[in-house]
Subunit: 313 residues, 2 copies
């Protein structure tokens, strides 16, 4: 019997302001539907995840691709990663510039090189060799991102204080996990990082085991939240380890986020699918835009207690 496919999406776990709330929820619903259609036609989990993340990157409501935030120099530096749970093949780019869809460059690293991770100028050089079009920075930058950066420039001290409180301004990461009809799992994560990050700063997002993990022996996870905290505890790998030990998707997500809060005082959010196709999400931030689709039912929410459902046409 073939596996019932499923896809889950997040649009970043942070204190999403009201003016972005509706667009964020709409964006994760659209991305889930794009990915689910691929799965329904028998497409691979990797293809579904890539297409869903591209849609989130193209949506200016999210801090990834178009809509990415600016570093202290006012530049856009993006990170993205993709992993296939069948054979653990993965590709990742960090600190890449002037690219509309970093997730698709990560896909090319996975498919076309013997490497896993390319960073900085080398990542851009590779994208160019692969014929990926480069775009001007201003095409990626929204008025919202500029406003946040100007706030930083104006109130530098205040922002530094906020950083120390592990409560940076700036949107957050997008991500997707999926299981296809063959039972293969995959994850993808993409981000512009945090506003006023140092040039060259890379968070958890493009890092295998932190920004996500996918293994057919356990399941797939995509994470979001305070990157440095997630890196310190390898949040995604922790979750798949708990799945492998027989914990449910919900238990694994809740236990791992709770352990992260205890050990390094960090908050975040995750979407998870296990190898049986069970889907879940959890977040310890104020809000996380999330959605998932399974059995033609679209589930979504934003605030901690919310869980809406719609039957797909």
């Amino acid at each position: 019997m073939s596996q019932i496919p499923a896809i889950a999406i997040h649009g970043g776990a942070w204190a999403i302001p009201d003016n972005l709330a509706e667009a964020s929820v709409e964006g994760v619903k659209v991305a889930a539907q794009i990915g689910y259609k691929i799965l329904q036609k028998g497409g691979s989990a990797v293809d579904a995840v890539e297409a869903a993340v591209r849609s989130l990157e193209d949506d200016p409501a999210f801090d990834a691709g178009t809509g990415s935030v600016l570093n202290t120099d006012g530049e856009v530096e993006m990170d993205a990663v993709l992993m296939d749970g069948k054979d653990l093949k993965c590709g990742s780019v960090a600190c890449i510039q002037n690219i509309k869809n970093p997730i698709s460059v990560a896909r090319l690293v996975m498919d076309k090189t013997d490497h896993v991770l390319l960073v900085g100028n080398g990542a851009n050089k590779f994208a160019e060799q692969m014929g990926v079009e480069s775009v001007e920075t201003k095409q990626l930058v929204t008025e919202e991102a500029i406003r946040e950066w100007e706030q930083y420039v104006k109130f530098k001290v205040t922002v530094n204080t906020l950083f120390k409180q592990r409560n940076p301004i700036g949107h957050d990461t997008v991500g997707a996990v999926a299981i296809d009809t063959s039972g293969n799992v995959a994850f993808g994560t993409s981000t512009g990082g945090i506003t006023a990050k140092m040039p060259g700063r890379v968070g958890d997002s493009p890092i295998i085991g932190s920004g996500g993990y996918a293994d057919n022996n356990s399941g797939a996870v995509s994470t979001t939240g305070h990157g440095e905290s997630i890196l310190k505890v390898c949040l995604a790998k922790n979750i798949t380890t708990l799945l492998e030990q027989g914990k449910s998707v919900q238990e694994a997500a809740e236990e791992s986020l709770s352990a992260m809060a205890t050990r390094v005082q960090g908050s975040g959010g995750v979407v998870v699918v296990d190898k049986h196709g069970n889907v879940g999400k959890h977040f310890t931030t104020e809000r996380m835009a999330w959605s998932w689709i399974k059995d033609n039912q679209l589930n979504y929410g934003l605030n901690p207690s919310e869980h809406f459902t719609e039957i797909m046409k």
Copy 2:
């Protein structure tokens, strides 16, 4: 009662040629003694690890700092990481150039920023801001590294074939783990990567959970070997997870390396210290230069069956 301190070192797991064998063994013995002296005086595990790795970086027998291999463009791009098991604080640099001791820039990222990982030009800019002296590439490059690179340029196809066999030419990573008299563990890893890597390629070494991990609740690990394989399985985090589950240092190292060989056909080596101060090493490559010191006894070896001991003066 205070913890009995210990330190363990590796100089890379690969088919070390005979002409480098003696220098490699001598190098890891010296590094262990440098780190151990710091621990004996009550110094921290982090300080011991940093000093030991600096000594390995300065030794041209190893592919880290001076002695780093060249990428396809004939450039040196280095990665290094350091982690404190007490509070999981860590710092990391990737794809940094023209720096004599990348491990000390990783230390500065840990101590002086709110970030974990800085890459490329951003990492160099930060080093400059911190007053770290930059050196010319030729000061880091040995005749051996140039010879390997020239081989690559001349026999490109052959080397590409070797890559696919997961048996690249080029030396490998150095690393250290330690436990101090307060019972804190730490790890450090540093590398120039693999000869003829693509510009911007980052392997496992600077990645928390892959190139190493340190947590007072379990222990510390530093890894070496085929970077892309190590990244896919988060080798270091796997080992500390097994330690946390009560496995011995030796069981955790052997099981994790064996699982990596099964899942992604990769080979490598590790040094490990657990939270009780038990020390171990294991490698699935032809050779790994390793050493450890505990209770004034220096242990070291290179070939699979070797285990020499010397009483320190």
